[in-house]
Subunit: 645 residues, 2 copies
């Protein structure tokens, strides 16, 4: 069977609605702003140095390398995002800008294909010498993704040629051959990129190279142990802390992983590649491993916002159920990685649970990473904020109380940008016998169904309203199957086909509604996913959330902010039976649905720190806003989990 | 008016009961064990090097300094503890051991009086050059305390002479004179020691030297800023984190402190010296500052166990109400410092609130520092323990899941030892017109009341039972005032004098019962402090304790342990109206009172991490044990704050 594919980005347009607005913000504000940042032209922001490094490596400039050893990847992610933007919204100036920087990259690339300005400019003797810490293959991966995106958006092979040369060099260098390095990258990324490259070029050997990296990872005798000895390290870096080689998913063969472990972005990129290869090779053992990891991630390690990673030191996964809210890491990039992985899992097995998590992570953790004006970003996305403590406690020192314009380690902003400019990759799958809709966002798209060009128009006010109208317009009548996700949060979905109620019996499988028929121009499917306000409770083993509820409506998780509810949000109580209402407030936070209801505020019986007297409560109105919109009104307290009374 | 004084240790004996048992354990086990540890003769314990360092400095041995720059203080604290032990329990071998090490210390001391083996052996060029980090004056302070203790216990002036020579040299070196250093120690301690030395020697100039250190601290231009420049430091050490010079109470004059700040042991030793000087000089402004600091410490910064310091980085005080349980620092030494300070406050103003806190800290935080067998110790005393997380999370890496025999930084074990061997200093005050009883522990003591030798015998099973019988036996009838503390936790205290109920009206002031009369041999005061099981709630601003209660009975705070209640203590619930009973269990944890009652255990409605279904509960028996006895049955979970339902 042919594998499912994504819709080519030029074939799908998001013109109105919530996600379209965020994507437009990225094109209008973020991409231009990030280009300025990469060029060190943003006053007050931390210096990036990224473009400068390439200009130096290309011989266009004198100077010294600036930044982290993974700095190059910021440029790659930006190129990818900008290319995605171009795919749907042509922009001659941006196109030319891309041509310019691609030419520079080409000049910076060494004759054998090697490309990593940190190593080239700062530590040339360290080429491939410290795979566990340095990010040479990781950077290669991001350039490969950029090259594929640029090619698919513009049809130009300039960057694609560069990255093929790079990938060919990697293929020659790594492997189990006599003259090869039997290693792999400390930060997974090249694996998933190579699968994309294989798909874009039709060269299956790139997928086989990815499979080499995946299969060799964690195999005894451990490559990294020998490397460590060569490098004369006495011990592992502090960010490995209690995890050893699990920090980089390297302590055992990947098929033996049970829970997600270590650095969460690394873990997600690994899992994404594992799912990719499970489909592309195919490889049943990788599919099974992916399913185990998925089950354990979603059962033990996932914040309700779709954030992952609850240990700042090493940006890592922690123990099962250990999900502190004020010390969440929940890096924007990790949420994005989870979106990627979930999307691949949907192509492996069409199950609503994957789409549910993808939606949760996208609408909450990922979108929270960017301010409403697109100018500032969160790297870390806590579920609870008390600014005074966050600024004073060392164990929260990594948490910013407000979004910032740029970071010294700026992985997240361009990652958010590339995700939002490639929405179409995530919303739908094209299958051999039809189309699957995973995420409902207002859009128009064109796909070939049963050999016939077919237009689809999806109208919805999602995520604020669960009514969806899907117009299907094939050029001629054609038979195919529409697979429509029934969101897991919705308890009573309904559907009509051309006005007639659809009987779900025998048509629903694993959270998708299957509509197989001959479709004709003018066919309309209407779906309704009633959005009620849900009170979510965490598993009681998550002691951090004990006694609390979170509010969710549709895919959106809500939070209370100081701006609406006053300070000391920990003293707010939501009575079990309090009637809650949802209201759309047009002028508020760019237009947002808010939840309101009668609550309580606990009053201290006295000034005493400890007392046998029970506290009293006074009435208080509770107003909750979508979590992804928090912190757009200055510094203040925030809580997702509200104490119940 | 003459100031209150302590009872000389040889005049008071604790022979039976809970505290007497712990003190005996210290004499029988801890002091000999620590002597072995200081001599590096404990297999498996971290190397101390302390005695060895002195032997090298004394020219008795070749070798290199080992340990921290404050290592010497471990020996000083041990000498102090051992001397206290000798005061009540003569021991010729220990006496000789002390004579031996004191001779070595004398040889190690430099001709001008200087004594600090770290500087002498390792960095002689750094003498007095880095006051903010090195601990030369701190060590001097501990030796001064040891010298006074040894003198008072044995009458020998050997160590006293050494420390007077040391203090004289410090007096010449520090001050505002032209040739003097206008500095002060980064770690307060010498100040309180100098007040003791003044009292022991009658030399008031030592108290004036202490006053210089206190008055000069934090005065602009800051001495440390100039020092930092001389040392070419580019920034403050990481453990200062967000606090700047507040880390060592050095950002402003001490009289301007409002909340306790910075390193909590430093803060306590400073406050102790401030209270000492407020009384000794006297100094009203220092008294007022002490009262402000006290109010703010007890209102905002005190764990229910009497622990202080809730920030591991820098072992510091944090924001008001920021008292996390699983990340408490609550260092044993800080609790001891609080006991010292509270004791001084009682001599400044006889208020029951000071004794209440002293009692709380001693019976809970401090006693928890030592295992039931006296062989292992806690440095950090959390109020909640989940071993798997504590071992894995970096932000809990400083928390030991079990007591350990010794620490590289071994400040706490000898500090606990010296506190428990000097109980008599804390239980009573001798006043010009009588005696005050602050803590009720079974004991016999002798004091001079109105010129007449008077014996007191106090019989009680405190802290398990609140009945107290006090026999007063003056050699001849004599008029004086007995001041008997009415514990703040007791809501209905009663007293009888020779069988007749005492009417409290007009006899109670600030938590003390004043009995002024002519006392005759055979007079008996009986007190009854009914101990009920109290459910304590924290101020609602302490969000860490929201929805929880702590159980207290008498001075003892209780906790639930996994050994009695199973794992996942966060899923345990104590219903609001659950009847709780107290029961003494003779063979359990060395004989301990336990609290039992019907509780609940929350059951997950499903495997789902998040769910709209409310969890169910099943019945469970709750058994709570005294907090100070936790972790005597192997590694396991523990909680002081129990969720209420
Ligand atoms: Zn990131
Ligand atoms: Zn200590």
């Amino acid at each position: 069977m042919t594998s499912p594919t994504c819709i080519a980005l030029p074939k799908i347009r998001f013109e109105r609605g919530f996600l379209a607005g965020r994507a437009q913000l990225v094109r209008d504000v973020v991409i231009p702003f990030q280009w300025e940042a990469l060029n060190d032209r943003v006053p007050g922001a931390e210096r990036s140095g990224t473009v400068n490094n390439f200009q130096i490596a290309a011989g266009e400039k004198e100077g010294k390398f600036h930044g982290y050893w993974f700095q190059d990847s910021d440029l790659a992610k930006w190129i990818e995002a900008a290319s995605f933007g171009l795919a749907t919204h042509p922009d001659a100036a941006l196109d030319a800008e891309l041509d310019g920087i691609i030419a520079t990259i080409g000049k910076a690339q060494q004759p054998d294909g090697y490309l990593d300005t940190y190593i080239q400019l700062k530590e040339p003797h360290m080429k491939w010498a410290n795979l566990f810490e340095y990010h040479e293959l990781y950077i290669a991966g991001h350039f490969i993704e950029a090259g594929v995106a640029h090619f698919e958006a513009t049809g130009k092979r300039t960057l694609l040629a560069i990255v093929c040369k790079l990938a060919d060099m990697i293929e020659r260098t790594f492997g189990l051959g006599a003259e090869q390095i039997p290693g792999y990258c400390g930060h997974e990324e090249v694996e998933l990129a190579l699968v994309k490259l294989a798909r874009a070029t039709g060269e299956k050997r790139y997928a086989q190279l990815a499979a080499y990296f995946i299969n060799q990872r964690g195999v005894a005798p451990l490559y990294y142990e020998a490397e460590l000895k060569r490098l004369k390290f006495e011990k592992l870096p502090v960010y490995f802390h209690a995890d050893g080689w699990d920090y980089l998913q390297g302590s055992r063969p990947v098929r033996d992983l049970v829970d997600p472990v270590g650095h969460s972005v690394r873990m997600m990129y690994l899992a994404t590649a594992m799912a990719d290869l499970a489909l592309a090779l195919p490889d049943e053992s990788l599919r099974k491993s992916c399913e185990t990891l998925w089950d354990n991630l979603t059962r033990y390690h996932l914040y309700i916002t779709g954030g992952i990673g609850s240990e700042w030191m090493g940006e890592k996964f922690a123990e099962r159920y250990d999900l502190p809210n004020d010390r969440a890491y929940a890096e924007s990039c990790a949420g994005i990685g989870l979106v990627f992985w979930a999307r691949r899992m949907l192509d492996l097995s069409l199950r609503g649970a994957y789409a549910d998590v993808m939606e949760r992570a996208l609408y909450n953790n990922v979108l929270a990473g960017m301010a409403l004006d697109g100018k500032t970003f969160f790297y870390v996305n806590p579920l609870e904020m008390r600014p005074a403590e966050a600024k004073r406690r060392y164990d929260q020192h990594y948490i910013k109380t407000q979004r910032v314009p740029w970071f010294g380690c700026a992985c997240c902003p361009p990652n958010i940008a590339r995700t939002l400019t490639s929405l179409g990759y995530h919303t739908h799958s094209v299958l051999p016998d039809g189309l699957a809709v995973h995420l409902y966002a207002d859009c128009r798209l064109e796909a070939t169904m049963g050999g016939k060009k077919t237009n689809f128009a999806l109208h919805t006010d999602y995520p604020w309203d669960g009514a969806v109208k899907l117009e299907v317009s094939p050029a001629q009548p054609v038979t195919f199957t529409l697979r429509l996700r029934l969101p897991g949060w919705c308890t009573a979905p309904t559907a009509k086909l051309n006005g007639t109620a659809v009987d779900f019996a025998a048509k629903v499988c694993d959270g998708y509604l299957y509509l197989a028929r001959e479709w004709r121009a003018g066919d309309v499917v209407t779906l309704d996913f009633p959005m009620t306000i849900q009170r979510i409770r965490a598993h009681p083993a998550v002691h951090h959330d004990a006694g609390c509820v979170a509010l969710q409506r549709g895919p959106m998780v809500f939070c209370v902010e100081q701006a609406d509810n006053g300070a000391q949000l920990g003293q707010l109580r939501l009575p079990k039976n309090a009637p809650l209402t949802a209201r759309f407030e047009a002028g508020f936070l760019g237009g947002a649905l808010v939840i309101e209801g009668p609550g309580q505020r606990v009053q201290a019986p006295s000034d005493e720190l400890y007392s046998t007297t029970e506290p009293t409560v006074t009435p208080a109105t509770i107003k909750a806003v979508p979590y992804c919109l928090w912190n757009n009104r200055g510094e203040g307290e925030m809580r997702v989990w509200i104490r119940e009374s």
